[in-house]
Point group: C2
Chain length 375, copies 2
DNA sequence: TTGAAAGCGCTAACAC
DNA sequence: GTGTTAGCGCTTTCAA
């Protein structure tokens, strides 16, 4: 057999890629199997249309050449890349990781690839990344958050790119709708947190927030906590509304110090994120404040952190995994012309552990109601 | 102007994508600007070659049509996708996230897209994902870990796909080399951990490991710890070598119980990962064992967790960020025909916090040497 | 059942 | 400088 060693025919004009030998194309296979390229394509896509004998020959050639079809060429014809782009605010905050995992899983199952970009909370960069993803022929885009340049919805609309937003701020989603959106009930979560503290008898409730810049979800949580405290007819002086510059131990402790150094000490603190608990707990430990005896703490998010905190953190579970899964599914629906709901807000859930108790001087403490339902 | 409303010419055979109106192509722009497609292409790629007047006309048409070049078509010609694929073992373990962030950053800076796949530690799935990524025309692949099917290196070699491995087990990398690799010194890290405990006066040192199945890095750490304990002439009975089924609180505590329930209690525990500290600390708290007074703990990894643990965790810093960055850079070098080093092992670093002290009955305690160099 | 040929949107010779 | 044209690798009519 003359073709045993199938070196590229000497006169070939086929440009070898810079990085190696030319890959076998459908043409090579056709030549090797003694059929036309159309037949090879049929064996690949609709094998039943090819008579067994030729099919075998083609399959053999395919295997011998380690043929890998060129998806790029296919995308060109089908006008579909079977890939979607995910734009994240950042990977520094690990709360998105479970959502990413869920998205990856859903897409992989459906045969879609996932491209990831982090815009580092820079809306201009986000817009640029969206453009690049469109250039790259993404079948759809998953956008995280709701702090965008107005050009972004315009871009998506003009190019009719299917897209779903996740982790949107409810207000913004209603105010400037940008297609189907999945949100967490951030405001509701902190209201529930404050309600829980209130139900435990706390009347001096403070708020400790993460950075709110370009992070509507955190801002929603923060403002909602304050509003809910007032809703209960309680005071909430500025000194009890601290914002940390970051989630690291140092920044959080500085913010926590502002709360604890003011004349009147709160008996409970509602956090906009579980991560903040650790710094606050550190600060309490340094001041020999016992949690929950001297200070109750309730988190928000229900990340791993909370489960391991000392004491284990009572918190509001936020369904990030479900959010990612829903976003991915809705986007795939959209790509396949089925229309997902415009805005769905996923429910939170109170997770009672051990960082909240009745205040020491409680009048209306109902300690019996506190029990762990997770751990 | 007749073309103000540029509806797709009625007779056009151009297939509209299923999801919307046909996007403007270079042909549309050429027609609108009254030039040839080549001129439009030149305006896009080598604007200096086009006379100003026509260039302006083209630019105007480009803007009016919101033209977005089709990267797929470009890739077809250049045979480069300017995209790379990253295969991860899992996203459930957040240690990889900082590496991913570093990779994303490096690639974004270089104008490359990042595709992410999780194989969930299933080597067959990893192989399938690699195939898919090759089909999709990735310019290179970033592989994580070193537990592969033998078909994987074969596949990469046959198709001459530039690839770099990260988080490789040093032994495996040397034994079955698979191209340029970046590793962490897992064995060295646990040896250093044990050395530190030994230097603090500990002679009864136990090991608590995360699951080792398909996770050579963890196995390396585990075995190295045991070997190092023996190297110091100490005993290390089986009961002092516990392996947790998972990193969650429950699994870790079960493993920790095995350590602490055996007749002879260790005075110190070396962990294969920071994450395990939290469960172990919980268990100690439940038994009223003070850390570090009654038990010293040293972690490995230096994740956020450790900074927030109570007490703050003395640990071995593992350079995951540097690993991701190096992997991305080396891969880009490889794609551009520059040859990166075959195997680089990144250095670890002891981070002394507060979870290690001399044992209560120490003979050779040198407490003065212990000081925090981070926090 | 198969093959020839026309593109998908773009770039790069090669003429003019 | 600019236009014409030949592909990139593949799928898909349309004939045979």
């Amino acid at each position: 057999m003359a073709e045993t060693r199938s070196k590229p025919s000497k006169g070939s004009k086929r440009a070898s890629t810079r990085t190696g030998a030319p890959k076998a194309t459908i043409k090579d296979i056709a030549r090797a199997a003694g059929v036309s390229v159309a037949t090879v394509s049929r064996v690949l896509n609709t094998p039943d249309l090819v008579v067994a004998k030729k099919r075998q020959a083609v399959l053999r050639a395919l295997r011998r050449h380690d043929y890998i079809p060129n998806q790029t060429a296919r995308s060109m014809i089908s006008r579909r890349s079977r890939a979607i782009g995910l734009i994240l605010p950042t990977l520094a905050n690990p709360v998105f990781v479970p959502a990413i995992a869920a998205i990856e899983q859903e897409l992989d199952r459906a045969g879609y690839a996932l491209l990831i970009n982090c815009c580092e909370r820079d809306p201009a960069r986000e817009l640029a990344q969206a453009r690049t993803l469109i250039e790259r022929g993404m079948d759809g885009l998953l956008i995280t958050g709701s702090e965008h340049l107005p050009d972004l919805p315009a871009l998506l609309a003009r190019h009719r790119i299917p897209h779903v937003s996740q982790d949107v701020s409810q207000d913004i989603a209603l105010d400037k709708p940008m297609g189907p959106s999945i949100g967490l009930d951030n405001a509701g979560a902190l209201a529930a947190a404050v309600d829980h503290l209130h139900a435990c008898g706390h009347r001096r409730i403070a708020v400790l927030s993460g950075p709110v810049h370009n992070t509507p979800s955190v801002r929603d949580r923060f403002l909602s906590a304050i509003a809910r405290i007032r809703h209960h007819g309680l005071i909430c002086p500025d000194a009890w509304c601290a914002v940390s510059d970051d989630y690291d131990n140092h920044s959080t402790r500085i913010a926590a110090q502002r709360l604890l150094d003011c004349g009147e000490q709160p008996t409970a603190v509602a956090l906009t994120g579980d991560l903040l608990a650790l710094g606050l707990i550190s600060e309490c430990r340094a001041r020999s404040l016992d949690i929950p005896r001297d200070l109750s703490i309730i988190g928000c998010g229900d990340t791993n952190m909370g489960q391991y905190a000392d004491p284990p953190l009572t918190t509001i579970h936020m369904p990030f995994v479900e959010m990612g899964r829903a976003a991915a599914r809705d986007l795939l629906s959209l790509i396949e012309d089925r229309k997902p709901p415009e805005l769905s807000i996923l429910p939170h859930e109170l997770v009672i552990r051990q960082s909240v108790a009745a205040p020491a001087n409680a009048h209306s403490a109902k300690t019996g109601r506190l029990r762990t339902n997770r751990l």
